[in-house]
Amino acid sequence: MGEKALMKGNEAIAEAAIRCGCRHYFGYPITPQTEIAAYMAKRMPKIGGTFLQAESEIAAINMVYGCASTGRRAMTSSSSPGISLKAEGMSYLAGADLPALIVNVQRGGPGLGGIQPSQSDYFFMTRGPGHGDFHIIVLAPATVQEMADLTRLAFELGEKYRMPAMLLADGTMGQMMEPVVLPEDETDPAEVMKGKPWATTGTEMNRPHNIINSLYLKPDELEKTNLSRFERYAQLEKEEARWEDYLMDDAEICVVSTGITARVSKNAIAECRKRGIKVGMVRPITLYPFPKDALAKAAAKVKSFLTVELNMGQMREDVLLATGCTRPVAMCNRVGGMIPSTDEVVAAIEKEAK
């Protein structure tokens, strides 16, 4: 086990990425995730890495695209309005089958919105993070520890499935401080470049030239690339869904929540249990792939669901889909940077228990 440290969530991501062999960070300042850039600016020059403050979010994601083309573990981070600008780049990364890490520490929107926590990019990230038919892996941490742990998972799954991966945190996760055990094993940055025969590192005149590309002018060829990508997505959906079951054994009401609202929900569940209400929680850790089976399994035994979200009910739709609308799905939500209190969630659970 590595050493225990007290860190901000944003810093935990940055340090974890370095320990995962990431030596290339390209970013642009935006609240509430700038600590990642600041941390990288301090650390990277000391360890032979690159911290580059790009001229724009668009340039940053395209620097990641270029760097990832060489087989490196490359990353960028931003918050909601900046992620809109990265949408083009995410589409090209997906179209060229390049793994890369994108961190989105969400704030309220739309437009310039605010700088307080939000989960309102859920649809954007899980449905259409850019033009074209594609997905990115989406991971939702609920502790500073998970900020670190899921950073490694994002790199590993991205490389396994050759696709971009996102840490989708709400602003609270980025800003809060908690003890975190950092991974001890430091991945060799050169080692992660191995086993990538597709990388454009120079032919050395001993292989045909590699081309990183997403252009297919012949429709039958473009169709083939889409279909084969979706075969990988099917495998990802089958094998990589992750979630936490919390007090689900005897639960009659199932809360579904991620990030900061999952933590508020745990407090509310504890209070409700004291009042004799059999309530548990399924906390999705992967948002794409969504843990459909876990929700379907829950639907077989609970009376109703309650999503607790920092948006207007975006994840609620996934719960309805996963459960085939067989159970009512209520919602307890706040938006614009507001966070539901424990009392608000308790009241919502009690309403379901009646």
Partner: protein, 254 residues
């Protein structure tokens, strides 16, 4: 029999898709000759743009990356920061480099990234069928300036070499043409220098090549070459706009 002329090794055997009389073919050849001459094909990575040369990745034999529209200098930056010992070049047209990607161009130049940029200026969007480019001349008729480019509403053409010469960081900026044998010979020298600079770690080098688009200009290839002399070069004067080597040599001679 002695071989007196052959295809550069760093061009593939793919048949170019360019229109008759288009000067992309000449510039591709000059880039490939520079790569051959410096013996760097095995460690060169090229970035293709969006525009007529979008499929340049099929023509250059080195490793190639297709960038999104205008972002080639950012992609090149990512590659170069990952592999500083590799030779990285972008090949971009005027819409790509001087319009949608102007921010990436200026910022890459301003950082003095040790990369080579080949900029094709033919004063029009070729691939989409002949729309006004940032470099279209005053009065130039295009699909989106059907009454001729009017400075009052469509602004003035942008001169990239002059613009970038206002920055401190670039190592080398030169504007050349390829509409005559003499111009091609000068262009060859400039492109070679732009690559040699990178090999020697000198920093950002850009060669602007005043080019033709007979198809969208509505001219024969021969007339298009004349149009370059008569219209393009007077607005886009050929020459060296920055050469830190030459400036240092001059300083040393004082």
């Amino acid at each position: 029999m002695a071989v007196v002329f052959q295809k550069p090794k760093s061009l593939t055997d793919a048949v170019l898709h360019y229109c008759p009389g288009c000067t992309h073919g000449i510039v591709h050849r000059l880039v490939a000759e520079a790569i051959d001459d410096l013996g760097i094909e095995g460690r060169t990575i090229g970035i293709a743009p969006v525009g007529c040369s979008v499929m340049a990745y099929d023509y250059f034999a080195c490793d190639m990356i297709e960038a999104s529209h205008g972002r080639a200098p950012a992609v090149a930056t990512g590659v170069k920061r990952s592999l500083p010992d590799r030779i990285v070049f972008t090949y971009q047209g005027d819409g790509d480099l001087a319009s949608i990607g102007l921010c990436e161009t200026v910022s890459c130049a301003c950082r003095g990234e040790n990369v080579t940029v080949i900029f094709i200026n033919n004063a029009i969007y070729g691939m989409t069928g002949g729309q006004m480019a940032p470099t279209s001349l005053i009065g130039q008729v295009t699909q989106t300036s059907p009454y001729g480019r009017d400075p009052a509403t469509q602004g003035m053409p942008i001169r990239i070499c002059e613009l970038l010469a206002a920055l401190d960081a670039p190592a080398y900026l030169e504007r050349v043409a390829v509409n005559s044998v003499a111009h091609v010979r000068q262009a060859k020298k400039a492109i070679r220098k732009a690559f040699a600079n990178q090999v020697e770690g000198k920093g950002f080098s850009l060669v602007e090549v005043v080019s033709t688009c007979p198809t969208n200009w509505g001219l024969t290839p021969e007339k298009a070459c004349q149009w370059v002399d008569e219209k393009m070069i007077p607005f886009y004067p050929l020459g060296v706009y920055r050469d830190k080597d030459a400036e240092a040599a001059k300083e040393a001679a004082k």
